[in-house]
């Protein structure tokens, strides 16, 4: 049974990845958190304040199997936010303790300003790197007290810094958008942020923004598998009410 499900899922992923590559219209659904980004940048423009953006501790490296993908998703959304900031003349400050992500961050922000026809807008001083979690937190809290950013965007692999940054953003009244696939930090992001991307939504949002056909194709494949799971759950629940265990025995084969 497990082998069957593995083969079916690989076939579905491959089928939709090929279709997405051939230009079939596959897109992620609209996420309130992503739809709120223009509002966050607009708010910064009105108040003449900067935007604070961070992708969290992510265990300090891109090469971490659990946090690497989350940090990369946060950086690809950073490109989208930087373009909006350049268009509205708003300054964006990026904070990170991940040393091996710096080349990618610089490249992402530089291309974003270039694509907005504003290459001189890019300034490496807007990228703030600190060696470890505590210096990164202290620098971020100091920045928030001094600059009082209008919006605080936290998307990536977070650890307990989500509590500290979320609270600091709250006390200066910033509009906050959060997102992570680390379950242990989601409660704090939901409690302190106005909008939150939960678990896989972070990857779907970044794939949509980056227009990555492979990821979008496999997301469609995942959704089809979710329909299979939903059908099994629905039918199984009704059979359960009727005290009939045939489906359970089939699944146990």
């Amino acid at each position: 049974m497990a082998l069957l499900l593995l083969v079916i899922s690989f076939a579905l992923f491959y089928f939709y990845m090929v279709r997405a590559k051939k230009g079939a219209e596959i897109s992620a659904r609209t996420f309130p958190a992503v739809a709120a980004i223009p509002e966050a940048v607009g708010r910064a423009a009105e108040m003449g304040k900067p935007v604070y953006y961070t992708t969290g501790l992510g265990m300090g490296t891109l090469n971490n199997p659990l946090n690497g993908p989350q940090t990369l998703a946060g950086i690809s959304i950073l490109g989208h936010v930087t373009r909006l900031c350049s268009r509205n003349g708003v300054r964006i400050d990026y904070f990170t303790p991940i040393v091996d992500s710096l080349p990618l961050v610089e490249e992402t922000m530089r291309t974003a300003y270039l694509m907005e026809g504003n290459p001189e807008g890019f300034d490496t001083n807007h990228i703030h790197f600190q060696q470890d979690q505590s210096p990164y937190l202290t620098a971020s809290l100091g920045y928030m007290q001094r600059e009082r950013p209008a919006s605080n965007i936290m998307l990536g692999g977070f650890y307990y810094e989500s509590v500290v940054l979320g609270e600091a953003g709250n006390t200066i009244g910033a509009m906050q958008i959060g997102g992570s696939a680390n379950t242990h930090q989601l409660p704090f992001l939901v409690a302190t942020c106005d909008y939150t991307l939960i678990m896989e939504e972070l990857y779907a949002a970044s794939a949509e923004i980056a227009g990555d056909p492979d990821v979008l194709g496999s997301l469609k494949g995942e959704d089809i598998l979710k329909f299979v799971v939903l059908a099994l759950l629905g039918v199984g629940f009704l059979l359960g009410l009727a005290n009939n265990a045939t489906l359970i025995n089939i699944l146990r084969m």
């Binding site: 690989f10 990845m17 690497g68 993908p69 060696q131 609270e167 409690a191």
Partner: protein
């Protein structure tokens, strides 16, 4: 074509190793089982040998701070280099003589143990101040989250039962049933996400962990 050994061959190696593991999980082929176990021993050796990477990176960053005399940091970096060298030497002496060096084990048992628990527990402070200043029922989501959270807090703390019989009952129900739909959905959708991520890795579509970072 010259780039093949830098990318495509690497993905082929990763894909073949993964394929061996998948096949041996489902089918019992002695020859393949032997190969799978050999590869698993190799993976263990490689991972054990990679510990130096983190250390070299740390030494490099701190050395740069010392060189540039970065204001407010270089003294600590110097202290890091000195202490790191001493502890490493004491440890190596212990390894070579077969019996742990007395100072090394004293520092390990007292300095390391206290700092490790203390630094990790600092989050207890933050959660308390955040509870007061940030955890507000600003929308329905946050309201449900906080109500569920308070019931579980008062079910976990023995005093909850003393205040009102209902807390351990309702909180206990949250702990054993109320949170199950969410946790089960995270488990299922997380597993499907891993299947997709694994499949993209097999096809060489995922390259973040090769240090190519998103190219």
């Amino acid at each position: 074509m010259s780039e093949v050994y830098k990318r495509e061959l690497v993905f082929l190696v990763a894909g073949l190793v993964a394929a061996v593991m998948i096949v041996t999980y489902f089918l019992d082929i002695p020859v393949l089982n032997g190969l799978a176990q050999q590869l698993q021993v190799w993976a263990l050796i490689i991972q054990l040998m990679a510990i130096g990477l983190g250390a070299i990176n740390l030494v490099r960053v701190n050395y740069r701070h010392m060189q540039q005399k970065t204001e407010g940091l270089w003294i600590f970096s110097a202290w890091f280099m000195v202490l790191f060298a001493i502890m490493l030497l004491l440890g190596l002496v212990g390894l070579s003589t077969g019996s742990e060096n007395a100072i090394y084990s004293w520092v390990f048992a007292n300095v390391y143990t206290s700092l490790s628990s203390t630094l990790y527990a600092i989050t207890g402070f933050y959660i308390f101040s955040a509870a007061y200043r940030a955890f507000r029922a600003r929308n329905i989501d946050a309201a449900i989250l906080l109500i569920g959270g308070v019931f579980v807090i008062l079910a976990n703390a023995p005093v909850g039962a003393v205040i009102w019989k209902g807390f351990p009952i309702i909180g206990g129900w949250f702990n054993i049933s109320g949170q199950v739909p969410a946790m089960r959905t995270f488990t299922i959708t997380g597993a499907l996400g891993l299947l997709a991520y694994g499949f993209r890795t097999l096809l060489g579509k995922e390259s973040g962990f090769y240090g190519e970072a998103g190219q």
